[in-house]
Symmetry: C2
Subunit: 254 residues, 2 copies
DNA sequence: GGTAATTTGTTCGTATGTATG
DNA sequence: CCATACATACGAACAAATTAC
């Protein structure tokens, strides 16, 4: 005789219940960015838990990037607008503890960036195109410091033009991780000047393809550009996998 | 007269210092998965902070998926092997708070999955190919419940065959989010049977292309397959952006 | 199997530095 | 400048859970 199907109950901590309720209020929109949570003392009354429990819950919410609390603030913890900081943190952790290789990260960038460019070539506005062009111009006239910033601005404009917020956020996160990983190496590159010039040429080609609306060409060029830029820092045996994204000579083209 | 350039010091909480040290030990490999942290009382001695501070730090580390602590465990908190749970959580939050549309998520899946398949067609082993084939066979003989599981198994085998752990993890995370979002709708689809049959046909075509080593064809087919599967659940004005990934009739092919 | 010891989960009280008005 | 309310941090205590003997 089979009774009702009971489900196993995991012991759920008090602080988790607090986290769940606050998190639910934020995700449902009952609490909007900029609004304030009640003070810790008020929360311990509303949830009927102790102060420590409230604080542990707030720590978790803070670690997830949902709230921020400052000492002495009479208004209680602030609900934050979403920021990809938590996503950034967990992906960085992934890269470190899961031993992601630079090759894997660059390959992922090639995939995301070329997808963004493919979409941008179709969906861009004139204004966004102007942003990309301005960024490339800045790359030309920049020293090696401002060069990186202009490069970021270009790719960010592309990502926004893709119309997909997830692509935009992920490209940004992965790019910053890659840049952090090899910051030193690039700066000390013997032929840094030549690398910059070649990169500018690549960006101009990509920009022209985007302007012409030729997404597949733009995407192919961007993959090649990123490969050329990073290949020297990637072990030869890993480069094979990266080239698997390149050497369809006719990918996306006639 | 300019003195030494002091940098502004942000007030860093005591629990953050604890988090940083433990996190550093884990990321550097000084602490490996399966190993145990000292007990809370031991930690408060080593860090010379109070127990509350130690606990707040442990909560944060737990929220990041790095450790787990159980009540009564004499061995202290356990260092966990990396799991994408934290990544999953932050991306789910992103989807909710940042109001990601189903269209954006599906588009992202199309990008990642087709990249995985493109790579898998090149880099797969025979064993991985057999896994994919087995999954497709299971899809054929499954009811609507097991169908989903077999589908997941197929895409997971593909992602592993891509050779890129980041692609593997992200495809998994995004897939589960999408599936959660529309779980109800798919189940109550009027023509669920027909949808399943068509999906099986698509998967067989993709599998054949992978077996033949034709990555661009496999990628194109997979994008089309995913579009067909989800299009009905996506508002018409959003479908335009998804089709921007499709209607290069010749993408990746001659 | 039962009991003791240890650990985590949780509560409560207190002191301190800080931001607001 | 002062008063108030807040977050930060500490410490002691008890309950519940786990392990080991």
């Amino acid at each position: 005789m089979s009774g009702p199907r009971f489900e196993p109950v995991r012991a759920v901590r008090a602080y988790e219940r607090v986290v769940e309720q606050v998190e639910g209020a934020i995700e449902s929109g009952a609490l909007s960015p900029g609004e304030r949570l009640p003070s810790e003392r008020e929360l311990m009354v509303q949830f009927s838990v102790s102060r420590s429990t409230v604080r542990e819950a707030l720590r978790v919410l803070q670690a997830r990037g949902l709230v921020r609390s400052r000492p002495g603030d009479p208004n209680g913890a602030e609900v934050l607008p979403f920021s990809p900081a938590a996503l950034h943190k967990s992906m960085t952790t992934l890269a470190r503890v899961s031993e992601l290789s630079l090759g894997e990260l660059v390959q992922f960038r090639m995939v995301l960036d070329s997808a963004a460019i493919l979409l941008a070539a179709r969906l861009r506005t004139e204004e966004q195109l102007a942003e990309m062009a301005a960024a490339v111009e800045r790359m030309k006239e920049a020293d090696s410091e401002a060069f990186g910033a202009a490069d970021v601005a270009f790719h960010d404009a592309v990502a926004r033009a893709s119309g997909n917020k997830l692509i935009q956020i992920c490209t940004d996160v992965v790019r910053s991780i890659v840049v952090d990983l090899i910051a030193g190496k690039i700066a000390s590159a013997p032929d840094g000047e030549a690398l910059m010039r070649r990169s500018i040429g690549h960006h101009e080609e990509v920009l022209a393809a985007v302007r012409a609306g030729d997404g597949p060409l733009a995407a192919r060029l961007s993959r090649q550009s990123m490969y050329d830029y990073y290949a020297d820092y990637i072990p030869a045996e890993e480069r094979v996998a990266l080239r698997a994204l390149l050497d369809y000579g006719d990918i996306g083209g006639p």
